[in-house]
């Protein structure tokens, strides 16, 4: 059943993402994106996954949005005119619409068999302890791998983005060339 809160949250999420993809100014896009992410986090909370909703807010709104904004600040080249869409924008929209229609078709077909389920499964209350226990019991290997991956990504991103000028090892090579 489509409760009002679900509709509002879904609307915020989709509207935020849609405006994020359509605005001219890149920074406005990122701000609209954060609205979309907040709507999505609301959806997670509505679906009962409290821990995931809060992590989503913390990781995406707190970190990825700021990262994107910093990237925009560093690559903002005031000179060039800011056209929004690349030349072949129409085909892009057509492909996206096609993908959406096929997905929607598949979803509606899958559910045409089962009637609107009246039995409303009670929201399973997930506590942080349960997540912690399963994380460290069944999923301990992925947890360690994720830790490793995040450290690698952290150091990798810094090395990639480091400016060759301040990197001491770089300057000798250029000097010798």
């Amino acid at each position: 059943m489509m409760t009002a809160t679900f509709l509002i949250l879904a609307a915020i999420a989709v509207a935020g993402s849609a405006t994020a993809m359509s605005l001219r100014n890149a920074v406005h896009c990122v701000l609209a994106l954060t609205a979309g992410f907040l709507g999505l986090a609301g959806l997670y909370l509505y679906l009962g996954a409290q821990f995931v909703g809060l992590t989503q807010v913390m990781v995406y709104v707190g970190a990825v949005a700021i990262l994107a904004v910093f990237a925009i600040m560093m690559t903002h080249h005031p000179g060039e005119p800011e056209e929004r869409f690349s030349r072949l924008w129409l085909s892009g929209f057509i492909i996206a619409a096609a993908v959406f229609l096929t997905l929607a078709r598949a979803i509606t077909l899958a559910f045409v068999a089962s009637p609107a389920s009246t039995t409303q499964a009670a929201a399973p209350s997930v506590t942080a302890q349960q997540i912690g226990d399963t994380l460290l019991s069944r999923y301990v290997l992925p947890l360690e791998i994720i830790g490793l991956l995040l450290t690698a990504a952290l150091i990798g991103a810094v090395i990639i983005a480091m400016d060759p000028k301040d990197d001491p090892s770089h300057t000798e090579e250029e000097a010798t060339q």
Binding site: V14, L47, I72, E80, A123
Partner: protein, 103 residues
């Protein structure tokens, strides 16, 4: 309208919006944002299936989403670093102009 079906439709819509953005936008950073959106749409699917799936106590959906958020954050960081280096080389983030492969 089954609530699971509603969630799936919303995530499909989000996925389509992200895909449209990724395909049509000219600025490299906004393409990356489009990909982030597609990732988020997938996360929404996981949570929907966990919530309305057969046995939610297994917490697979929730944990998969947590790992997926972590990977997406790492991917965003490295992606933006790559964009910065590309900007430093090409002096523009306009994807249409990054078409020559000279080193």
């Amino acid at each position: 309208m089954n609530p699971l079906e509603a969630c799936l439709l919303v995530s499909a819509l989000l996925f389509a919006v992200g895909l449209a953005g990724a395909l049509t936008r000219r600025n490299a950073i906004l393409v990356l944002i489009g990909i982030e959106l597609m990732l988020n749409a997938a996360n929404l699917n996981f949570i929907a299936f966990w919530r309305y799936g057969p046995h939610p106590e297994a917490l697979t959906g929730v944990l998969f989403t947590i790992f997926s958020i972590a990977v997406a954050a790492a991917e965003a960081a490295v992606g933006l670093a790559l964009i910065l280096v590309a900007y430093r080389h090409f002096r523009t983030t306009n994807l249409d102009r990054m078409n020559h492969l000279k080193g």
